[in-house]
Subunit: 187 residues, 4 copies
């Protein structure tokens, strides 16, 4: 089972989330996880075609996904969409920005619309929003209250400082969940 995580990251915050998603995915037996940082190499179309799941990640800049991730989306038209090479792959998304809400939802929606165009199957988060009164583990997960995908919040500081513990654990949960559903789906 191959899980690929395709993401862009401007200053390293989204990269940290991508790594947390990967950590979660690896917890499912048989998961072979690729982390692909868009722009650092050729787009790996063959790896993506062989993947059972592709998870997209992006900072939210100016109310939507980054231009770099969008450039990759556009390149996928010829490389994958024309022949529906990603049809029925499991997919999900995550995003980060410098505000608790901050139009992040529009980035996740934009990813979900893109994935739907490819005929992919979208998985979100089955988590109540974080609340001190919740039973564990949802007490601490899903701090921002997001379901379509995982959201994280970073300040203008080092990725060592933000995103915080809850956001990283939520991303890890998403990765594990996607790998688990993929495992069930490809049997």
């Amino acid at each position: 089972m191959i899980i690929s995580i395709v993401y862009d990251s401007g200053y390293g915050h989204t990269k940290k989330i991508a790594e947390a998603v990967a950590k979660g995915a690896k917890q499912i037996e048989g998961a072979d996880v690729n982390i692909i940082h868009i722009g650092e190499e050729e787009y790996p179309w063959e790896t993506l075609e062989k993947s059972d799941a592709i998870i997209f990640g992006s900072p939210t800049y100016n109310g939507s996904i980054s231009a770099k991730l969008k450039t990759f989306f556009e390149a996928s038209t010829r490389a994958a969409w024309m022949d529906f090479k990603w049809r029925n792959k499991i997919t999900a998304g995550f995003t980060n920005s410098g505000a608790y809400s901050g139009d992040k939802l529009n980035s996740l929606i934009t990813m979900a619309l893109f994935a739907a165009q490819h005929g992919m199957v979208w998985v979100g988060l089955d988590l109540h929003p974080a609340n001190p009164d919740n039973p564990l583990p949802t007490k601490d997960l899903n701090n921002l209250g997001s379901w379509l995908g995982a959201m994280a919040h970073s300040l203008n500081d080092s990725p060592e400082v933000t995103p915080g513990e809850s956001d990283l654990k939520t991303a890890e949960y998403l990765g594990k969940r996607v790998a688990g559903i993929t495992s069930r789906f490809i049997k």
Copy 2:
């Protein structure tokens, strides 16, 4: 395998689409299909809990799903969401309005966000947009060009007249696709 179609319909146009979705779902072996017209009976929570897939349908009124379907959504908070009774069910959506585009996308997005809150797994359309130059069958399917779910277009006339052939065939395709993926997923 139980597939439930939960929809609202003001004048019968969306009802016709719901029936087309059901017709498609029944083409998959083993599919037991329920059509639930919201508001005509008690909300069938037990049937929904037993369902392997739940497909949502609504007219697009004033830029979003109907208040009647939204009322059902709100009732699901206690009936299903608190305990994640719909977790990992397959889901999809369809909508109809009196314009080719007509903010229908917002209705589908609103359904997808609702379904994600329930931890459901969203399936869209793996179809190129209709075009005379397309190879069959996508020559005639997906006339409006929608992927997150199925869209249909009706005029202020009898449901006998609109939605048209392509929209109904697209809805049928969606039903079959959802049932097929559900069948694969629950094995």
Copy 3:
């Protein structure tokens, strides 16, 4: 200058925000402010037709505006939309939910689409997201990071406790901003 605030509130949290918006609007000279709690009275179509600005507010339930506000939206089709009685009125929106992000953006988008259908002119927030390093007053305003409209966050407690100070001040800012722009526009 007449400013009307049309809102729904389930447990009183959104009502508090509506009052904060009203407080802000009244700070502009000549502003006559109506607060209309949907469902407590007949829909006041005449007041709305005479208004120079209409601001919409709703809790975010299940990923979108409340069914009660949506019911009002649907009633406006005959009462106002057919003859574009709200054409060119200034408009804005606010929403509240029990999570920092919590799909609130979809509620604001749904309001903005509705308002656009009516030919209204949409005003959002010209505020940087809250940050301790910001110059005043944006240090404390816009805590959740929203621009299309004002967002607030409440817990399952008394409206006396949440929404918090920043969210209420942000709502007040929105009211003042809408009234100020309306004042400029109707001259």
Copy 4:
């Protein structure tokens, strides 16, 4: 009164719509209209800062605005957003794609969210959807049924052929409407 139209166009279809918007804007007395094709020159920040209205246009590719327009959006963070240089400017949007609906709404929403972040004031279309039974002129305008902004539909052919007459007239109407409202607003 300065109206600027900032757009991207891949094959010339969106360019034709931009020209129709400009044609409409010029019908308002005193309107000085700039058409800015993103990517063909340096981003004209000074012209934009002096503009009373900025209208955004983009093809819808893969479910959202083009990466080229998004790159411009991101550049505006330092050039305009930090100091709210576009605060209270009138704004609007248009988009084109190869399907009647085709996720175009997400492009318009993405533009509206971006504009809201800049503190701009959004104007849409006050038009009923096209219908043979409508009174003129809305009989022929707004063929696709869009309000947040103007939508157009093009095939894979020459921009001489598509977008069609109704879409171009609708774009022209939007340009005139934005210029008219801007004229009223800046007095």
